[in-house]
Each structure stands twice: as structure tokens, then as C-alpha cells.
């Protein structure tokens, strides 16, 4: 048997055994190392006779390739076995809890304000603001509620001075005054914000939220008011149809004035809006009183329009099934977590107000 064949037989046999990586490396070096058996054979080529040389070289290369590829595949096999073994050892209990995370929430009143703004944005209202501390003039007198008017009794007011000139605004209506004083008609605004009345029991909180609406132009009438509120209520409660009732009422700053009720029923302890034969008062509105327009230097024979005021907290309670107004401001972690909204849930027109 030629040397070459012997080498091949010997190493094929060796490589058949179960080997580890270092044993294979040993074999590799035995064959192809500096003094390896295959390497030594290559050195021999030069000493061979011309006639033998070609065949010998060819045979040697074939054997070399064969062994080489065998070693390579053997090595791959072992490496992947080793990796698999390692991975097997690294296996963990994947049901262990993830790293802890915390979730922030947006308060339902803030969410509701964003929903309201989004709805009114669609029909061209922009958002205005006013200060929480107001003077008596903006809060009452300019709104056609002079001193010693019994309508002032409807608002239990917090005062900041003995002369009763500075107060915490009892409604968002002074924003109407501020808005109209600083610019020229038409006006089309909503003004959400904090409001205050010194009233505190189960259904009253000394602080609550209102959104004011004002639309003054040349020919805005009660039909527009009805249409706007109808649209708003439908959009807000995300229902196809609603039952709405306009009922005469009285506010000094609007004439005619109305209170708006929506129809509802109670089903399985939940309020269903838009059905049933019970009525729930949700807002006050009316045509802005000419005296108010005069007070802000708008000519009432040229301009007219409507205003409304809606209790935001009340809307949130109805929409989200919250029973107790006081709980809005109690900051109970459990309540905030339960009723709060994910900060990524931004109400928008295109994808709807709520998920």
C-alpha cells in the first residue's frame, strides 16, 4: 500500500471516532502542520522522478482535499454541538416576571378636555384661556349680573378681599369677556378650565371644570346653537343618535336662555346615553345678551350669537361611569390608575376619541 493510501486509511479511521475539538485540531496538525504527514508528502514531491511526480501530486491533492473537508465538516459538527450544549445550559425559566415597569396615566378630566377640544376643533372653534382669579366685573357685572342681583345667589363665590372685588371665577364665562375685549368679531372659541364655588358635598366640589363656548357672527341664531350642541353631544358620547331636549331657563348673560337635557336609561347599573325616557341636565346655553355685547364694545344690532357652558367633570362621569365627583380630586392611586388614560391615547379626529 502506498504511503498516501496508508495515510488516508489511517486518518479516515481516526476521524470516524467521536472526537472533541482539541482532538480534531491535533489531527489537523498531524496532517497539515509543519511536519504533518500530508505536509511531509508535499515536500517529497520535489524528490520524485518526473514520471511519478504528476500522478503523485494529483493523488496527494485529492487526499488532502478529502481529509481537509472531512475535518472541516467534523469541526462544524462539533462546534454546533458545543453551541447547542451551551445554549441548552443557558436555558432559563422564561415565565419569570419581566423587569418591573411603571405606567403613567392621564387624568380623566384632562382626557375629556382633549376630547372636547378635538370635537370643537373639527367645526372651527379655537381654544382660549383666562385666569382663575377674576375681578368682580368680568365674572359678574360685564355678564349682565349687576351687584345685588339675585342671580348672584346661584353662585357661591370665593372672595380674595373684603371689598369682594377679587374672586375665584365661578364659571368660565369671564373668558367670553376677555376674548371679546381683546379682539374683533367674529368670535368662535371654547374655553375649558377650572371654576370655583364654595359648595361642598357629595355632588358638589369647591373646584370643578367647565368649558365655555362662544360663537358670535352676523347671523348666528338658536338653530345654530341647537345644531352645534347636538353635534357635540353625539360626537362626545360616540353614539349614532341622541335624545336632546332644550328647555327654557334663565342666565343673566344670555337671552333667550336654555338648559339642555339628554335622554338616558339605566341598564345593569350603567347609564346608557341616547335611549330611555329619563332626562339628565348637562349644560346651560343661550343667545348672548345684547347688554353683554355692549359691555365688550360689540354692536348688538350687527352681531349676535350663542354661548354655552358645560360641566366637564359631569361629562366625564357620564361617559366613563364615574359615580363620585369628589373622587376626581382625591388623588387615590387606585382611582387614578383605574380611570386614568394611557398618555399615548391622544384623542384625535381621524382615529376617534377613544380606543
Amino acid at each position: 500500500m502506498s504511503d498516501l493510501k496508508k495515510i488516508k486509511e489511517e486518518f479516515l479511521l481516526k476521524l470516524k471516532k467521536k472526537l472533541n475539538l482539541s482532538e480534531i485540531n491535533q489531527i489537523k496538525s498531524d496532517l497539515f502542520g509543519k511536519n504533518g504527514q500530508v505536509s511531509s508528502q508535499f515536500k517529497k514531491i520535489g524528490t520524485l522522478a518526473e514520471s511519478e511526480r504528476k500522478k503523485f501530486a494529483s493523488d496527494l491533492n485529492i487526499i488532502k482535499d478529502e481529509l481537509q473537508s472531512l475535518i472541516n465538516s467534523k469541526m462544524d459538527e462539533i462546534q454546533s454541538a458545543e453551541i447547542n450544549e451551551k445554549l441548552e445550559k443557558e436555558k432559563i425559566d422564561i415565565t419569570l416576571p419581566e423587569r418591573p415597569f411603571v405606567k403613567g396615566k392621564i387624568h380623566p378630566v384632562s382626557q375629556t378636555i382633549d376630547e372636547i377640544s378635538s370635537i370643537f376643533s373639527e367645526i372651527g372653534f379655537s381654544v382660549e384661556e383666562g385666569p382663575d382669579v377674576e375681578n368682580e366685573y368680568n365674572n359678574f357685572t360685564a355678564l349682565n349680573t349687576p351687584d345685588n342681583h339675585p342671580a348672584r345667589d346661584m353662585h357661591d363665590t370665593f372672595y380674595l378681599d373684603e371689598k369682594k372685588e377679587k374672586l375665584l371665577r365661578t364659571h368660565t364665562s369671564p373668558v367670553q369677556i376677555r376674548t371679546m375685549l381683546k379682539s374683533k368679531p367674529p368670535f368662535k372659541i371654547i374655553a375649558p378650565g377650572r371654576t370655583y364655588r364654595s359648595d361642598s358635598d357629595q355632588t358638589h366640589s369647591p373646584m370643578f371644570h367647565q368649558v365655555e363656548g362662544l360663537y358670535i357672527d352676523k347671523d348666528i341664531n338658536m338653530g345654530h346653537l341647537k345644531g352645534c350642541l347636538n353635534y357635540f353631544i353625539k360626537e362626545f358620547f360616540e353614539v349614532d343618535k341622541i335624545k336632546m331636549r332644550f328647555r327654557p331657563s334663565h342666565f343673566p348673560f344670555t337671552e333667550p336662555s336654555a338648559e339642555v337635557d339628554i335622554g338616558y336609561k339605566i341598564k345593569d347599573g350603567r347609564i346608557i346615553i341616547g335611549e330611555g325616557d329619563k332626562w339628565l341636565e348637562i349644560l346651560g346655553c343661550g343667545m348672548v345678551h345684547p347688554n353683554v355685547l355692549k359691555n365688550v364694545k360689540v354692536n348688538p344690532s350687527k352681531f349676535q350669537g350663542y354661548a354655552f357652558g358645560i360641566g366637564i367633570d359631569r361629562l366625564a362621569m357620564l361617559k366613563y361611569g364615574i359615580n363620585d365627583l369628589r373622587s376626581f380630586f382625591d388623588c387615590d392611586y387606585r382611582w387614578l390608575n383605574h380611570y386614568g388614560f394611557d398618555p399615548l391615547d391622544v384623542p384625535t379626529n381621524y382615529r376617534g376619541l377613544s380606543r
Binding site: 382633549d114 377640544s117 370665593f158 369647591p206 341664531n221 343673566p252 399615548l344
Partner: protein
């Protein structure tokens, strides 16, 4: 205003049912608040007699009474009233009865160990009067034979409680309500036969209205009725008053009440014999006193409208009479007053004295000045009918003449405001039914306003009357146009919403707390601001406007910690107040974290919240909002409620014009004083109003995309510096060397201790160097390297650590 359908029928002819009535009342703006049926609930209340009382064995103030509830049926009732005594006839409510005042249902209950089978009721509990001292005492002569019988007479009619808006004084009388209903088509208003006193006797008691500034009384009408016999009212009158929840007192008082409720004409009856010589209507003098019919003594200020005689004050005109001249059962001669008082004067006086009466409620809303004689005629005739006597002529003193108001009304205004059309015929009919007198004048209507409608003064008021009576349901619904010409939110409002959600997304729960707070808490956080007191707070714990959001947040954080939650982050975005004038307020986002950032778990180590958590939330939020953190400038000058060593102040740039935020640990002393139980308490305040809006809008920032693809190199430096040198100084120094080359700077270690001299520290910094023009070679890098070392050493006194 409480009414019954029966009483309405005195003025209204109708075949319609009560259910229709309730709807119609609400439809025309007389909102039905509640409908109550007394008789169904009240059949359980019995006339009963106490047959025996014993002291309660376990309570000094209580008695155990044997109560005869008829047919010798004796019940044991525990009672605390001092007037409960043997022989007293009173009102008994058995278990199951609902107490009218409190609406609570009685149950058989053990009171201090003794079972009480029901209850003996006070007048107040039965809604008969405000008398809550002791149980009801019924007259023996009248009720002895009624023991065991129902106390309340059976009534089938409901009490309808209406919420009358302050502009409608006329509807504080049944007739006014009937008139509105009739105008709206709900029946026909009955004519009432006007009684007219035919008398030849002179009114001999002199009445004078003093001519004074701010005289609150403009008309004083009166008549004398002599030789009356005051008695209990006849049953029809009693029933009438009881049917609307009023308590009958005596015929004379009941008649004045009846006339007030029926036609909204308040009257007052004086015992004429108790009046000293004459009646003088005048302004009070400071310090004058009188005892009113509510048995309270009132001390008057200057300028209140009083009815007086030569001896002194008899009563407050239009508000309340005095005991000195009150009528009693033995009263023989009566002076009946029917007057007009100025609403503003009434309101001012009543407010100052904190008085509220039926008369005041009506006068401050405006009584029909032309109803003076009608009221006197009606009441005097009834008194004569029931109590006998002789009526004098009516005497009317006037300080001022009332003129009827006339308005020129353009009928077109109706459609302009309401958005729908009605016929002239319909319009005229409604107005006439409401009592307006019409005269056509070309295209206008000249309208004479009824004297009972002080609320109507201009054209738009007429429009309201018409829409109200014709029906708000006739208003069409004009859908809005979906069009936007102006952006919904301003830049500042957008920033508000962005920051709000940005903070929430970092694990904070948004809270909303009241804008007022406890002065004690506020004191810790008010910094340089003045305390702003509320003059009339709902409680002393909510007595000041907040100067900082922290006071409320910490209070509620503490409550949550007490509930057993250990690690919590909350925030609020809202106003804090810097002064008591409108606009002296700032919008602030205040966040607060308590406890541990991470609590021991199978995977995490435990770590308290610290100042760098707060700093991260502040910086990250501002960066998200579009501010460049490379420009931020931070120092440690913070208000005294922060830990002086572990808190910081952030400016958007080195110019330090306005503070953008504070952050840090809350001062440990405050924690101790407020007694917050937590491992750590850190917070921040971002001042929304101090954030200059980013100059570039998001769109502008996105227009140009510049990056470098050349290789970048990182170099580490360790500098030894004095302890008082801030990391920020080193970073700024390095970044200013060459902003084109130095693209990132990172502090990766801070070390004090062995091998570092005392009062010094080592700061290790990693600098990334990258050019926009080329790949830097060793030479370039060496140059910048040396420049960094030299500049830092020169500018900060640092030494490079070798």
C-alpha cells in the same frame, strides 16, 4: 315654589291631566324639581298620647315612654325630648315610616339597650315648622278624641316643587304660573272677581314715608281692620296651606300667607294697638335693635329700610316683622300693610343680616307695584269674612310713581334670533295672553309691559317670551359646518399638552388637586411669595391659594403612602398663584416620586428615587419638547424646600434669564414635619411660562439632514479638579473647543478618595471626535487631544491624571 294642581285650578280652566301639566311646566321654563305625594307616606303617622314616662336606665337624657296609639295599644318608645311628659298628645311614627324631613325610614332599634318601637316626632321632623326643640305638642281639646287616627289629613294631590328662575317673580304666585300655562295653550286663565272694599271709615293711623336718600320703600298701602276675632283658620284655608307644605298658624297670618302664595303679594299684619301713634318708614340708624318674628334680636346698621313707630323699630320692611307688634289670638285691631320695597335695598339688608324669608325672597326679585290695593282688598275681605270686624278705607303713601314700561318691538327680530318663523297672529296671541298690551305702529309693535314683569326691558326679552311659550322644540337644528380657519391651539397650549403627556409617559400618574390648600402646608413651599388668603374658605384647611403645587401633592402622596403604596410617582399641571390679582398666576408641572425607583426583585437591585431620576425626567421631557440639552445650564440655587445639596436649577441656556425648572430631594426637615413615611421623596417643577417657545417649529427642524460618515474616534480623559468645580464646567469647556469636531461628551466616572488629594476629585470623561470633512489621522487626533487637555487645565485649574 310649591304648588298643587288643585290650587292652580283656582286660576286655570283645563281638562288636561297632571302628567301633561308636569311636562308643560318644564317646557315653558318652570322646571319641575320634584313631585311628592304626602298622603301615601304619611298615613303611618298617628296622633298618640304619652301615658307614662320613665328615665332610661342607661342614659340620663333619654326617657322611655309608654305611648297610646289608639285602642289601648301601648308602644314603648325611647325619646330624648325634654317636653315628653305624661299626658302629652303628640305624633307617633311607627317602624317603616319615612320621616318627611330626613327621608329616612324608621326601624325598630335598640337605643342604649332598650328597644324603641318607633319614634315621637318634632314639628321640624314632620316639616311642619322649624321647631326642632322637643316633640310636637297637640292641643288636648282638639286631638284627645283623635288618638290613633292619622295625623295628616288625607290628600290626593301631589306637591309639585318648581324651580323658579330669579327673573320670574310673578311665578312666585300661583296665578302667575297659571297665566304662563294658559298662554302656552294649557287651559284658560280664569277671570277673578276683584274684591273691593267699600268703606266709609277713615284709616286713622298716620303713615309717613320719610324723604331720605336711598329710601327703600316707595309705596306703603295700608288699611285698618277693627274689632276682629282672630281664630284658627277654617279648614279650606288650612288645607290649602298644608297642601303646599305650609303650617297654619292663625287666621290673620294664614290669610296674609295665602294671598302671598296665590297672587304673589306679600302683606304684613300688625297689631294696631301695639303701634305707638304712627307708622314711620325710614332708614335705620346704626345700633338700633329689634326682636324679629324669628325670635332673634337684630342689630341694625345705617340705612336699612325699617317700619317704625314713635317708640322705635317695628320691623324690617319687606323682610321680617317684629315681635312687638305681632298679631296674636287676642289681637283686636289690625293694621294691614301692602307695600313696595326696592329689590336692591332688600337684598343688601338681608345679606348683611343673613336673613332669608318668603317676603324677602319675593321683594328682592321685584313685586308688582300695582298689586298693592288688590292685595289689601283680597286679604281684608277674607279677614272680615273669617274674623269679622270693620275695614277702613285704604291709605296709600307714595314716595315714587311707577310708570308702565313700553317697548318698541320689531317682529322680525323673532326669526333673526330664534331661527324659525311664526305668524303674527300667533305672536300677538301669546303676548296678549301673557298680559302685554299691543299697539301696531307701522312695522313695529308698541308693547306695554305687564307691571308684574320687572324682568322685561328690551326687545330680546320679548323674543324669549315668544320662544319660551311657543316651545323650544320648534327651534330647528342647523348642523355645524366642518371648517377650520384658525388653528385650534396656540403654541403655548400645544406645549402644555405635550409636556403633560410627556411626563405621564415617564410613569407619573396625573392628578388634579384643588387650587387652594392648607396654609400650614403652603408655608413650607411658598418660597418668596405672599400668602393669598380666601376670605370665605369652605374650611380652614383650604384657606389659601396655593403658591406651589407641592403642598397638595405631598399631602396626597402621604395619604397614598398611608394606604400602603410604597413607590409612587404623581404629577399635576396647573396654576400656582403669585398674587391676588387676575393673571398673577403661573402654570407649573410639578412631579413627585416617593419610595424606590426599583425594589428588590429576582432580577433587579434595590434603589431609592434620587435627584438624578428627577433630573432625567426634567431634561428628557424638555428635550422631547424640542429644547437643546447641550445649551442647558444648571446650578444649585434652589428654593428652601429642596435639599440644599441635592437639588438643582435648570436654565435653557447660559444667559440664565428665566428658570425653566427646579428638581431635587424635598428638604428632610419638611418630611419630618409633615411626617411623610417614605424612603425618599424627590420632585421637580417645570415653569411652563418661562419656557421660551422653540424658535423652530418641528417642520423647520426636519428640513435639513446633516450627518458625517467619516470615522469617529473616542478618547478618555481623567482630570483631577477642585471639588467645587462642576462637571458641567468641564463639559462646556470641552464642547466649546471645537463644536465641529467634538460630537459627544460623556462623564463615565467621578471619584474621590485614595490617590486623590483632599478637596479634589477625579472626573473621567469620554470624548467622541468626528469630522464632517475627512477621516482624522493620528496627528489630527493628537492635536485635538492636547488641545483638550491644555484648555481644560487652563480654564478650570484641572490636572490631567497620568
Amino acid at each position: 315654589m310649591k304648588i298643587t294642581f288643585d290650587w292652580l285650578r283656582d286660576h286655570l280652566k283645563t281638562n288636561l291631566k297632571e302628567k301633561n301639566l308636569l311636562n308643560q311646566l318644564t317646557n315653558i321654563g318652570l322646571e319641575v324639581e320634584s313631585v311628592e305625594n304626602l298622603s301615601a307616606e304619611n298615613e303611618l303617622f298617628k296622633v298618640a298620647k304619652i301615658t307614662k314616662t320613665e328615665k332610661h336606665p342607661n342614659a340620663d337624657r333619654l326617657k322611655v315612654c309608654d305611648v297610646d296609639i289608639g285602642n289601648k295599644n301601648i308602644k314603648k318608645v325611647v325619646c330624648g325630648a325634654s317636653n315628653a311628659k305624661e299626658g302629652l298628645i303628640t305624633v307617633y311614627a311607627p317602624p317603616g315610616a319615612i320621616i318627611p324631613k330626613t327621608k329616612t325610614k324608621l326601624v325598630e332599634a335598640k337605643i342604649r339597650g332598650i328597644t324603641s318601637y318607633g319614634m315621637l316626632c318634632s314639628e321640624s321632623e314632620l316639616n311642619l315648622s322649624d321647631e326642632s326643640d322637643g316633640i310636637t305638642e297637640l292641643s288636648k281639646s282638639k286631638y284627645e278624641r283623635n288618638i290613633g287616627k292619622n295625623f295628616f289629613s288625607k290628600s290626593k294631590t301631589n306637591i309639585i316643587d318648581l324651580s323658579i328662575t330669579p327673573n320670574r317673580p310673578d311665578c312666585l304666585g300661583i296665578r302667575g304660573i297659571a297665566r304662563d300655562l294658559a298662554a302656552s295653550g294649557f287651559g284658560k286663565l280664569k277671570d277673578i272677581k276683584k274684591e273691593k272694599i267699600k268703606s266709609t271709615i277713615k284709616q286713622t293711623l298716620k303713615v309717613k314715608i320719610n324723604k331720605e336718600n336711598n329710601q327703600g320703600c316707595s309705596i306703603f298701602g295700608s288699611c285698618l281692620i277693627t274689632n276682629v276675632k282672630n281664630t284658627e283658620s277654617p279648614q279650606w284655608l288650612k288645607n290649602k296651606l298644608v297642601s303646599v307644605g305650609q303650617k297654619p298658624i292663625s287666621a290673620i297670618v294664614d290669610i296674609t300667607n295665602y294671598v302671598m302664595l296665590d297672587i304673589n303679594r306679600p302683606l304684613h299684619a300688625y297689631d294696631a294697638d301695639k303701634i305707638e301713634k304712627s307708622i314711620i318708614v325710614r332708614n335705620s340708624k346704626s345700633g338700633e335693635e329689634f326682636t324679629a318674628l324669628d325670635n332673634k334680636k337684630y342689630k341694625l346698621e345705617n340705612g336699612m329700610c325699617v317700619i317704625s313707630d314713635n317708640k322705635g323699630v317695628l320691623g324690617l320692611g319687606g323682610i321680617i316683622g317684629g315681635t312687638r307688634s305681632g298679631t296674636e289670638f287676642h289681637t283686636k285691631n289690625i293694621l294691614l300693610e301692602s307695600a313696595y320695597f326696592d329689590p336692591r335695598s332688600i337684598r343688601k339688608t338681608a345679606k348683611k343680616l343673613n336673613l332669608d324669608t318668603d317676603a324677602k325672597f319675593r321683594f328682592e326679585r321685584g313685586i308688582d307695584p300695582f298689586s298693592i290695593e288688590d292685595g289689601l282688598n283680597k286679604a281684608a275681605s277674607l279677614i272680615k269674612e273669617i274674623c269679622g270686624g270693620e275695614i277702613s278705607k285704604i291709605d296709600v303713601q307714595k314716595f315714587e310713581n311707577f310708570k308702565t314700561k313700553v317697548i318698541k318691538f320689531d317682529p322680525n327680530l323673532f326669526e333673526k334670533i330664534s331661527g324659525f318663523k311664526i305668524s303674527n297672529k300667533e305672536m300677538f296671541k301669546v303676548l296678549e295672553d301673557l298680559g302685554f298690551k299691543l299697539k301696531k305702529e307701522k312695522k313695529y309693535l308698541k308693547l306695554t309691559i305687564p307691571s308684574w314683569r320687572p324682568d322685561i326691558s328690551q326687545e330680546v326679552d320679548i323674543v324669549e317670551e315668544l320662544v319660551r311659550i311657543i316651545g323650544y322644540d320648534k327651534i330647528s337644528t342647523i348642523g355645524p359646518i366642518k371648517e377650520r380657519t384658525k388653528s385650534t391651539l396656540t403654541q403655548t397650549q400645544k406645549l402644555f399638552h405635550f409636556l403633560q403627556r410627556s411626563i405621564a409617559s415617564k410613569g407619573y400618574l396625573e392628578t388634579i388637586t384643588w387650587s387652594f390648600t392648607d396654609a400650614n402646608y403652603n408655608n413650607y413651599f411658598k418660597d418668596r411669595f405672599k400668602e393669598i388668603k380666601i376670605i370665605n374658605p369652605i374650611s380652614s384647611e383650604l384657606g389659601v391659594l396655593r403658591n406651589s403645587i407641592y403642598s397638595n401633592l405631598i399631602m396626597f402622596m402621604s395619604k397614598n403612602l398611608d394606604r400602603g403604596f410604597k413607590d409612587l410617582s404623581i404629577f399635576e399641571i396647573g396654576p400656582v398663584f403669585t398674587g391676588s390679582n387676575p393673571g398673577e398666576q403661573n402654570t407649573i408641572i410639578c412631579g413627585l416620586s416617593a419610595g424606590k425607583k426599583s425594589r428588590l426583585s429576582w432580577i433587579e437591585k434595590e434603589r431609592n428615587f434620587d435627584v438624578f431620576d428627577a433630573k432625567k425626567d426634567v431634561v428628557q421631557t424638555l428635550v422631547e419638547a424640542g429644547y437643546n440639552s447641550d445649551k442647558f445650564f444648571i446650578d444649585n440655587e434652589t428654593p428652601n424646600y429642596y435639599h440644599p445639596g441635592k437639588s438643582g436649577r435648570l436654565f435653557l441656556n447660559e444667559r440664565k434669564d428665566q428658570v425653566a425648572a427646579y428638581f431635587g430631594e424635598i428638604h428632610p426637615n419638611i418630611l419630618k414635619k409633615i411626617d411623610v413615611k417614605t424612603d425618599s421623596l424627590v420632585g421637580f417643577e417645570i415653569f411652563l411660562d418661562n419656557l421660551k417657545l422653540p424658535k423652530k417649529s418641528l417642520n423647520d427642524q426636519k428640513t435639513k439632514f446633516v450627518i458625517s460618515d467619516y470615522q469617529k474616534s473616542e478618547r478618555d480623559f481623567a482630570f483631577v479638579v477642585n471639588k467645587n468645580v462642576n462637571a458641567q464646567d468641564l463639559i462646556n469647556t470641552i464642547s466649546n473647543i471645537d463644536q465641529n469636531l467634538i460630537s459627544n461628551i460623556k462623564v463615565f466616572d467621578v471619584y474621590e478618595g485614595d490617590n486623590i488629594p483632599e478637596h479634589q476629585k477625579s472626573i473621567a470623561i469620554n470624548v467622541t471626535i468626528q469630522s464632517f470633512d475627512k477621516t482624522l489621522n493620528d496627528n489630527d487626533l493628537e492635536k485635538i487631544n492636547n488641545l483638550i487637555i491644555k484648555t481644560v487645565e487652563d480654564k478650570t485649574g484641572a490636572k490631567i491624571r497620568s
